[in-house]
Symmetry: C2
Subunit: 213 residues, 2 copies
């Protein structure tokens, strides 16, 4: 696992801050205090102030934070002030769902290549991008300077796809296969463990049941 | 947002403990210390001991934890020692991917109903379950005593689907629509924010880039 300079926990909190600040923007709210953010997000106000201090001075004591400024700064911190060249490997239902998701929300991840091994869907076009044969993956990644590979293949093929992406020169991998994959330390890896989320839901249901009894 | 007795942070850690313990089981490992778990998962050893103490005594000082026992106990704590009757609403690519995921891994969530508004796919069968018309959702949920509704519809329709599920009597909602939905406090809600994960990846890529410079 890669270890950037800041803790794993703050990496998890920053996207949440961004999401809630975006929500405040849609409501037309311009200023927010750490106490108000605490109320909204569920972290303590002191945690929030400490997190923001890690990256610089975003607010003035007693005046709160500017929502627009904070949102923009967090975007920069997260590296979202640029475009990422992205490919999706595995174009089954999950791959197509993820492709639609990133395409529809235009969130800075430009999907420029889709890959699969299934001859029946190679050549099919999704959101203006044609599905190519996975045998072309490495060359494409190298030639186009692809930044991110999204792995939507099954558990059995995930490591081989990761290896190919790394050989091609990607900077990061977003992995949806339910398996821990090994990659070099200089490539970022984010695995989505849907089961963790489902098990958290199970725990909440159990807790609510116990409360009622 | 619902507030069970234990903190939001530990709800996030427990499924991870479970996942890594399952990994140790597949390796045939029987005993593990909090230090070894710390190495594997990335939380501090004292955090791990504190978490386990919240729920009871799982190990003996200096002897480590029994992997099998701990896995079983965490399953119980998470409420995974039972089956949940589950429905999926929205059977586009995402809904079908999630249906396949839960079906394939047989993880205690029994998908007994699929629903959509699209007349072209109503009647289609996925993993032995027929897609029904969403107009039948509420009656089905009530009649069958469905526990969990999985929302895979678009942002615009997510709240209406959540309302119907709640009226039908579900205990929990697993929401994939990129929107905050409102539900009563006695229903558990877990929203999957894929963008948070993608933005964490972006941050890791940026941090690795900065390291290289």
């Amino acid at each position: 696992m890669n270890k950037p300079k800041v803790s794993n926990a703050i990496i998890r909190r920053l996207p949440r801050y961004r999401r809630y600040l975006g929500y405040l923007q849609t409501k037309g709210i311009k200023k927010v205090s750490s106490n108000e953010l605490s109320e909204l997000i569920g972290y303590t106000a002191s945690q929030i102030r400490q997190d923001f201090n890690t990256f610089g001075e975003f607010g003035q004591q007693g005046y709160g934070y500017s929502v627009d400024y904070l949102y923009k700064e967090i975007n920069k911190i997260l590296g979202l002030d640029r475009e990422y060249k992205t490919v999706v490997v595995g174009c089954g239902h999950l791959g197509q769902a993820i492709t639609n998701y990133t395409y529809y929300y235009k969130i800075g991840f430009n999907i420029m290549g889709l890959f699969d091994v299934n001859q029946d869907i190679i050549g099919k076009v999704i959101n203006d991008v044609e599905i190519m044969d996975s045998s072309e993956l490495k060359d494409f990644v190298t030639r186009e300077g692809v930044d991110i590979g999204i792995i939507c293949v099954n558990r059995e093929n995930a490591q081989a796809v990761a290896d190919t992406l790394v050989e091609g020169g990607v900077k990061g991998i977003w992995n949806f296969a339910p398996i821990d994959i090994d990659i070099p330390k200089d490539v970022a890896l984010e695995s989505v463990h849907l089961s963790d989320s489902l098990h958290a839901l199970s725990f909440m249901i159990k807790s609510l049941n116990e409360k009622e009894q």
